[in-house]
Symmetry: C2
Subunit: 119 residues, 2 copies
Amino acid sequence: MHAALLIAHGSRRAEANADLVRLAELVRASGRFEIVEIAYLELAEPDIPASALRCVERGATEVRMLPYFLSMGRHVAEDLDGYRQDFTAKHPHVRFTLCPPLGLHPKIVEVVMERLERC
Amino acid sequence: MHAALLIAHGSRRAEANADLVRLAELVRASGRFEIVEIAYLELAEPDIPASALRCVERGATEVRMLPYFLSMGRHVAEDLDGYRQDFTAKHPHVRFTLCPPLGLHPKIVEVVMERLERC
């Protein structure tokens, strides 16, 4: 059972948090993962431990933690990797991996160019 | 004279900040803007007022402020829009506009799916 755990920073603005809910619907629709959960690092719920536990309780054997972050800042490199280590220690029968953040992918550059034309 | 001012959150990690430098090179290479500057909201330099002033001093008549952020959180909706208002008041002969953040663009979803396959 493969799980995707999509993780955003979290915001006080509902509009920003709603992006992750919509993203999860799209990942679910892809049919690639039996389990798709979301979590916020800060400022919104569910938090990361609660959603990781939910993946385990739903029977995940592998949980891919996807940082919905643009770059490899401290939140991804330290905070999220710290969670990955904690979960691995607590649930040794489940494989937790941390995916790379979005990064400066050519498609991201295309989106930047589009946004620059829209203002 | 059109300027693109690319703005990221800023990080204590040089690797994260370097993405914006590389992004600016790619926007410059597009030839779409005569002036391309970068700025960080926090934790790194140059800061936003310094780079906005640099656009003005280089002769910009229009400055498009591009939030290199994924969503319309408080930083974009409040902090960056506050800067836009300040700059407009200080430099009334220059048009400052705030572009939308990257958002949940279909290409962003494609990058997420690729990242989920890479871990």
